[in-house]
Symmetry: C2
Subunit: 165 residues, 2 copies
């Protein structure tokens, strides 16, 4: 029962996606990382100390004004190789199937990934950051300041006991 690198596994479930899109995205730059295959990528941004580069296209670089006031940023980027429409997934190391919206898998109807990164430095149209885990060349969608007041929830739990399915 082989599956290709970005394919689906037995027991997983696909949704029928509409033929047309509801809205469109502009790629505003690219993420430069040390990882060239999905297998090379760390499982998450905490598993590496690698300093990565955010290359912002010159047209959008004026949007970096005052960004160095932020210690941490939220990056949104586009998992262009992901299988869209996968709504139930069987992660390799989970006991049973999980809903896509209970997973951070790149495979999702809108494959927008999110990482919280530490801003190390700005150099003209590029940022140096720590905390990325994605493939080299991944398209960038957005950069946002991270506010501890609204974005930090140290008490949050996943897979809490007693939850229904």
């Amino acid at each position: 029962m082989g599956t290709d690198e970005f394919g689906i596994r037995p027991g997983e479930e696909m949704a029928a996606l509409p033929a047309e899109f509801d809205a469109g995205l502009h790629f505003i730059g690219r993420l430069r990382t040390p990882w060239r295959t999905r297998q090379d990528c760390p499982k998450n941004g905490l598993q590496t100390d690698a300093v990565c580069t955010v290359d912002v296209d010159p047209a959008y670089a004026p949007g970096l004004l005052t960004i160095t006031g932020c210690t941490h940023l939220i990056l949104l980027y586009w998992m262009e190789h992901a299988t869209r429409g996968l709504v139930v997934q069987q992660p390799r190391h989970a006991a049973g199937p999980r809903g896509t919206f209970a997973l951070r898998s790149p495979a999702r109807p809108n494959p927008i990934a999110l990482s919280v990164v530490e801003l190390i430095a700005r150099e003209s149209d590029t940022l140096r950051v720590r905390g990325l885990d994605c493939l080299d060349g991944t398209p960038l969608l957005d950069i946002k300041p991270y506010y501890a007041s609204t974005d930090s929830r140290p008490e949050a739990q996943v897979d809490r006991a007693g939850a229904d399915t």
Copy 2:
């Protein structure tokens, strides 16, 4: 110098957006909130105790499987009324202009908004959550589990002293 509700202000800067999109989005549901105009919306999700509803389209609702194991979620949604291409902005209460990527303003090249919400309950294809601040009917793009390990940065600062511009 009047500006319309979603328009731009003197001193702000627009980028020329490409004529074509690089990728497309599917709206997967709608956010139901008490707020019908932008002026009614709280400034952020901490300024209200309102319990809001996430209506997931039936085609995508299987993706909610096992989600009640999560205490907190990240919601991504589409600010459909936002001015795209605004790269430098003059917030009403800031001393000087800010880059779009240093702001959480809905006006940005890809107007994807992000809120961290508390999951109160699931009822079939809907979620009851606390922490939203957006207009009623806002299109939903994604739901992700919030991991304290990777997403919580209580030490993060914005507007730190001594930052360059």
